[in-house]
């Protein structure tokens, strides 16, 4: 769907990291994303995961990386944004009674919406969240209302020093959901075989038309935007 969503709130929550609340959205599944036309001379839309949804309000948490996200960060409350909504497949539900949600950096936001949905299904969640430094941390207090949270920072300024892999030491991971940079996901999926990961890729359209984000999987090529962004671990083949 194409929707004009109005900005209800927009604030900084960590270093270069913003929380944007948009009103007027149709219902999204955890793991789905929206594709936003950012202001100014930016030709392509920018895809963002949904960090939370309540009624018709969605929360988008993003980090400023380039000129597109910089332009988005300057959008004011009351302005509207042109969005393609309800994109991608979203996370699956699981029969496990306890699962791990593993996130790195700006990959973390969709895990919050997922954690809330899992709790509604009476599934217990343990979060393992990796950041560069304490200044980059966000959403930790919100996650703590939903289950145990293990924080790892690369410089050790908060929680365990190291990556999410260090955070997972001494844990038995039966099933997990993970979002984050590819090196993190590659390392995780080489150790833990039963779970789902959400991938990021450069996209042209976000809804399946351009084939720009196609990746090879075990059986056939799949579009990250359409058949993904969530994939079962056993489907994935990583480039060497």
């Amino acid at each position: 769907m194409i929707k004009r969503l109005s900005v209800k709130n927009h604030e900084t929550i960590a270093k270069d990291t913003f929380a944007l609340v948009l009103k007027g959205a149709p219902p999204h599944k955890p793991g789905q994303f929206i594709n936003i036309t950012v202001p100014g001379e930016h030709f392509l839309r920018r895809p963002f995961s949904i960090a939370d949804q309540e009624d018709d309000e969605i929360l988008v948490i993003y980090k400023v990386f380039g000129s597109g996200t910089q332009a988005l960060s300057e959008v004011k409350i009351g302005e509207t944004l042109d969005c393609l909504t309800c994109l991608g497949n979203g996370f699956g539900m699981t029969k496990h009674k306890h699962v791990y949600l593993i996130g790195g950096g700006v990959g973390i936001p969709p895990l919050y919406y997922l954690a809330k949905a899992l709790k509604k299904h009476a599934i217990d969640v343990t979060m393992v969240l990796g950041f560069n430094t304490e200044a980059d941390c966000f959403l930790i207090e919100a996650f703590e209302t939903l289950g145990t949270v293990i924080v790892a920072t690369l410089d050790g300024s908060r929680g365990i020093q190291g990556t999410v892999l260090e955070g997972l030491k001494d844990h038995t991971v039966n099933y997990y959901y993970a979002v984050g940079p590819n090196p993190m996901l590659k390392a995780l999926t080489s150790i833990y075989k039963d779970g789902e990961v959400s991938l990021e890729e450069r996209m042209g359209c976000g809804f399946g038309a351009c084939m720009g984000c196609s990746i090879k999987t075990k059986h056939e090529p799949k579009r990250v935007c359409k058949e993904g962004p969530v994939f079962k671990v056993e489907e994935l083949v990583w480039k060497t």
Binding site: M1, I2, T37, E41, H42, F43, L44, R45, G68, L84, E201, R202, M203, G204, C205, F207, G208, A209, C210, M211, G212, C213, S214, I215, K216, P221, K226, K239
Partner: protein, 304 residues
């Protein structure tokens, strides 16, 4: 809508608007947005003899007023197209489509056409001799008059439908190539394909695209495309389907005034899935405001 009707070799289109190849798949990703039956036709995603994954990602890079792509003709191959895709197409689109035929050798183009000839819904073939993103050939055919002529003749010899040849703008003299394919029996010309370009990521100090080079498309290339349509129109007598950066009804009219009998909208579909729908609905009143009743009267008027 009768006033928007245009005629191409082998096909009558209810309007001159169609999505360009590679930006619309076979239409299935757009039915959530609108009823695609309003389109004049559809230029399908490229079809090759065998399945192709294409190039490794990243395959997309944004540029000022456009984008670069290096998809590399990802498709399921002609057998899957005939057995699994075309049988489902009438459920979402009832008019004739233009099948984009791609290959790396002349034999491959011929094999694809032979396999597609039995598909009734194909009204014509768009012979893609201008894809810049595959190493083994593709664009090589459209930068050389002899090769362009050779592949056109070979396709024409086995085709049971009209042949539209898609030309590359990455040439010194587009008119020479256009004349060569006309002489070889092409029923129409479609132009332009993308212009070769690249971008470098200053942080990693490497090209953004895994393929290094990609095809530039979008509004950035519109003046180049328009000029080539205008130039080719002066020098050939077969119809032209114009494309390259069309985003608005005004762009459509410019291309038709330059000499296009119909137009294709490509990259615009990716940023606005409704773009073809919007333009089809605006077109009749817009040409009327310019003093034209029938859209076919626009074709080539810029030539005086």
């Amino acid at each position: 809508m009768e006033n928007l009707k245009v005629t191409l070799p082998g096909m009558v289109l209810q309007n001159p608007i169609m999505p360009a190849s590679g930006t619309f798949g076979f239409g299935f990703d757009f039915v959530d947005y609108y009823d695609i039956n309003i389109l004049g036709s559809i230029m399908t995603k490229a079809i090759t003899q065998h399945p192709r994954y294409g190039n490794a990602v990243p395959r997309i890079a944004e540029v000022t007023s456009g984008m670069l792509n290096a998809i590399g003709l990802q498709n399921l191959g002609v057998e899957e197209a005939v057995n699994a895709i075309f049988p489902r197409l009438p459920s979402i689109y009832r008019h004739k489509v233009i099948a984009n035929v791609s290959g790396s050798t002349v034999e491959e183009y011929v094999a694809v056409i032979k396999a597609l000839n039995k598909v009734d819904q194909i009204g014509a073939y768009e012979i893609n001799i201008s894809c810049p993103n595959i190493k083994e050939g593709g664009m090589a055919f459209s930068v050389d008059e002899t090769m362009a002529s050779y592949v056109t003749k070979a396709c024409k010899a086995v085709s049971e439908k009209p042949i539209y040849v898609k030309l590359s703008p990455n040439v010194t003299d587009i008119v020479k190539i256009a004349k060569a394919v006309e002489a070889a029996g092409a029923d129409a010309i479609t132009l332009i394909n993308t212009l070769l370009g690249m971008r470098i990521d200053v942080k990693t100090r490497k090209p953004v695209l895994n393929n290094i080079y990609g095809g530039l498309s979008g509004p950035a290339i519109k003046p180049v495309a328009l000029k080539m349509v205008y130039q080719v129109y002066r020098n050939v007598s077969i119809p032209i389907i114009g494309m390259g950066g069309i985003m608005t009804k005004e762009d459509v009219v410019e291309f038709m005034m330059a000499g296009a009998s119909a137009v294709a909208i490509g990259t615009g579909n990716l940023v606005d899935p409704m773009i073809c729908h919007t333009i089809v609905h605006e077109l009749e009143s817009y040409i009327s405001s310019l003093g034209f009743e029938k859209i076919e009267a626009l074709v080539g008027v810029a030539h005086g």
